[in-house]
Symmetry: D2
Subunit: 342 residues, 4 copies
């Protein structure tokens, strides 16, 4: 089968022919990929950013944002799924037995980090193997269009859930970066809170998208974003700022636009933030990382998709176009999310 694989850090992916995957154990499932989203994390993997955190052996098939139909089912889970079932895939394969898993927090599974597309072969291929614990039924949905919900959407969901407790009616939430994740976050904030949403970006087309998604305020970050946010919030600042970009500059801006008791949530990464403890204490601020999301959060997100409340702006590409797609993503030219159809 065809697969788009990383052979060397820093070099483009190559589309090659490889053997199809096999079931790993009685709980595993093989899925025929119908859509695989392309994510900034793919760029980071290629750059080697994740190399120090996890150490995948190359070559590696990327693609951690997948939906498809069940192709083959392990015997222990044959009563749960069958060939042909439409499914979306939670990106992390968790054990189901550790404290984190038993508490529902799959992302913190203590039994080894297995993440197709990052630590093992992923969905930039015709077929991929995962665990039954990752599957969620996606009947009646366009699998290519929902594929980005598996990671971009789920990441938006969890970040928004971290905002919810502070986002009372009329509170202010800043969404910094209206890209693949941010544009979903705006929709979720609209349906999960009654807060004012301030969308911030530098690209005119992304700001336009934010307007279409009914962000309450749209801020062009080229003109001192913090200042504009302070004006909108009458000098108080936002209750929550979610940074979907991840540069040193956006980190600092998010921090500076917080009001007392406010929270900064990191989703985009790559930058650093230097904080003074006196500022953290005087404002009783919180700075928090957000890591994808758990299984139930993805179940809830798929339900919102079924209700028509979340729609990913998707542009579809062939597997062979992966190199070009990654290039455009790097340049910030992708509006919404690019999805490969293997």
């Amino acid at each position: 089968m065809k697969a788009a694989r990383l052979f060397e850090y820093g070099s483009p992916l190559r589309v090659v022919d490889i053997d199809p995957p096999k079931l790993l154990d009685g709980n595993s499932v093989i899925v025929r990929v119908k859509g695989a989203g392309v994510c900034h994390t793919d760029l980071h993997i290629i750059e080697g950013v994740w190399r120090e955190k996890v150490s995948p052996s190359l070559p590696l098939t990327l693609g951690h944002e997948n939906a498809g139909v069940v192709e083959e089912v392990g015997e222990a889970v044959s009563g749960l799924f069958k060939k042909g079932d439409p499914v979306i895939l939670h990106p992390r394969i968790s054990c189901g037995f550790c404290r984190a898993c038993r508490s529902g927090e799959d992302m913190h599974c203590e039994s080894g980090f297995r993440f197709p597309g990052l630590t093992m072969d992923g969905g930039f291929a015709e077929l991929m193997v995962t665990s039954a614990r990752c599957l969620i039924r996606a009947d009646g949905l366009d699998l290519a269009e929902i594929a980005p919900l598996a990671d971009a959407g789920l990441t938006a969901m969890r970040a928004v859930k971290k905002a919810v407790p502070l986002a009372y009616p009329g509170a202010y939430v800043a969404v910094v970066g209206v890209g693949g994740v941010g544009h979903i976050a705006i929709q979720l904030l609209k349906h999960m809170t009654n807060a004012n949403i301030i969308a911030i970006d530098v690209h005119p087309d992304k700001l336009k998208l934010a307007e279409q998604l009914k962000a309450d305020y749209v801020v062009d970050a080229k003109k001192d974003a913090v200042n504009q946010v302070m004006e909108i919030t009458k000098g108080k600042g936002v209750n929550v700022a979610i940074d979907f970009v991840g540069t040193k500059e956006t980190h600092l801006n998010c921090f500076r636009m917080l009001r007392s008791a406010g929270k900064l949530v990191f989703v985009g990464y790559g930058g650093t933030l230097e904080i003074k403890s006196i500022d953290m204490i005087a404002g009783e601020l919180t700075v928090e990382g957000s890591l994808v999301g758990n299984y139930i959060e993805l179940v809830d997100l798929i339900e919102l998709a079924k209700q028509g409340k979340v729609r990913v702006i998707v542009s579809k590409y062939k597997l062979e176009e992966v190199g070009e797609v990654l290039e455009r993503l790097k340049k910030g030219e992708i509006v919404g999310r690019a999805v490969l159809i293997p």
Copy 2:
């Protein structure tokens, strides 16, 4: 009456004679001070650290950690308190009408920052004025001994409450700095959680105190604290680290000893922490400031004191000894808390 006042930043307090305070309005109360704790924040005020956050006019009577007996009561609250009532004083005068106050979060009151000992005259004096909203009955307790609960104790309470949700039975909580606040935190963690407490300090007498307070582990920070914590936690790190010291070094150590999904709480301040967003996200970590505490948290703390579960290690001094006390505090020579008896 006598009062210990700051006349110039960077210079020692001077004990002088001033007019006694008057009621400010119908809701205010005058208290005869029976104990006023001496805190690192007093050192910071003298140094001018708080100058950019609040701008008190000098001369200023310090002392924000007070207990005493009611001397005079405003007419609007005459049904609530009467002359002679033993009381402890919440340090912040809040309005009772803003969203924060109506939600019980007095420290985030939006109606001006009035904090005796910081923005107006405090308790290093025979008499002081405050609001009825600050008073909590303290019958049957030694007022000089509980005075430090008003700020050191309350600060420990709130920091510990931030740890509680992560401090399941057998979890690990690091208490970095066993000083005036930290030694109360250890007692609260003992009574409010069933987690393992790792007390960390550089002073042998403070480590000994931690042992007496039944910390589960005692770590001498002179010998690579992070390493020792990793050994104790079998390489996983702590669920929560509370930094009661506040230097660049303790901030970084606390951050480095966190496990996945862990939380760092700042109480001590002065230093800075540089964080990479990828670390925050990969571990889904939280970094959070803790700001004194609210009225109900102080009520609960006084109840714990009545139950004999929290005892401040107190050394009592005359008001005139304030200079010497501040000197010794600076050098880290005060075990527990120093209290002035005006």
Copy 3:
């Protein structure tokens, strides 16, 4: 001034001329009533149902659901409000000092039950007295139209907030009774959750209203409501049932339609429910009363009204028509809420 007053239990209110009210203390405020909602509780008060819980001295001016403009302000709160300010009134006068008040739970204030329209003169009059703690600015809103938010709306808000933790996307919430409170609850559930809403009533016009408010399912309770709910929920039952009616029959139906781990919230009252503990345990069910709401919940509700998300169906009447309005309410003929304009 004119006021509609209860002179004898079981007898109709009489509109009479009485002296205007005076300020009670420095924290009180006199409001010129611009709208006073008429509520089932008014019927219950006249019937004497509340007589054993509270014992108001007759004659009593009813009306606990009020909005108006400030007429006169007590000196202690003169900085907060001024003559002419448009305001809605939280129905309970709370002390601001007890544990409940300091925790934000005004309805559980421990300092005497003062509730205009129930224990002291209320809003079926040209002027009424209340406390500054009850007032919320209502700029830009039609005061007669929002008056019902003060009690009916607030009651819906709190009941819905009790549903929220169980109302995940796709969960089922039954709203039993689409009257003055229930029809607001449907709107709140729409904006505060992504659950499926099942509206249940016996009146065709109320079922039609539910449809207009976009309830997901509408059930005619004349035809075995429980059965229909079980069909809608594929035999599982609802996650939450909120009973806005309050008869023995609706109580039992609500209980019987719960799924495992479900919750029944009482808002309407008058009936009884006999429960077997084995049923409560086997399903791990919760049965919970809901009591109006707190100040912040009313602040949030007014914000939702400003956002155009909550609209009360209101029919306006003169104060003199109060008797006729109460008659029609008793017969279930009022759609939405009747409001008196004194």
Copy 4:
């Protein structure tokens, strides 16, 4: 192997010889029982109380409160446990895939109710079969002495966790019934809250046990328990009442002793409670069933046992003595918990 089995509702168990159990699937485990607690639910099962909720086919080996050592392990979970491992068994076999399981709420598993000792053969036998999902390592603990933690202890844990949010320092929690479950609840309340514990029973030896366990107040229920509780709480009533007995009388007493905003938790069952909705609303009360507990709650409980904070009062019996033990339990003559050693 020997097993104590129910052959007919209403008749005593008979100890008979049966074939040892076999692994059911790759996830199952066979355990050699080292202790099996005897519970009021066993009496209820024999009486047929559970017959309408679940319909086990007879004969049935009872025993749902088990600890032992692993005897044989299914292939899918052979990496997790091995022969000889000391374990305690969560009583419910859950699927691990439904919403409840993925949220950590095993007791609400939607995939069929499998509960050894109730719907399939249990632990009153030399060997029993369960799922790897039920096992928790119990190294260093006396297996016969901790067996009651699997159900009685876990049930106490969950009931106490439902009390915790209302049990602030100095609040009042009533423990009604100091039997096998109640005496563990007292210990948990001591270590998980700083509330005042009021232990209530009719048996002098159980009241004595409550005193030894350091309940703050001990009330002889033969002399109007509600009245005594009202005196202790200065007329306010308790914040939480947990009914471990389950008769109509204890249900009503618990309800009547609640203060405003209070909560009644059902653990014991069999009786009924008739509630007026006006009482539920006026006091904003909660009535809630508690159903055993989830896996993580049992993990936490075992940790508390390891810390020496929870000790079950145990009397050990041979399997053959099961009939006599059940008789004595029925008469309320068992102090603490009886455990069979097969």
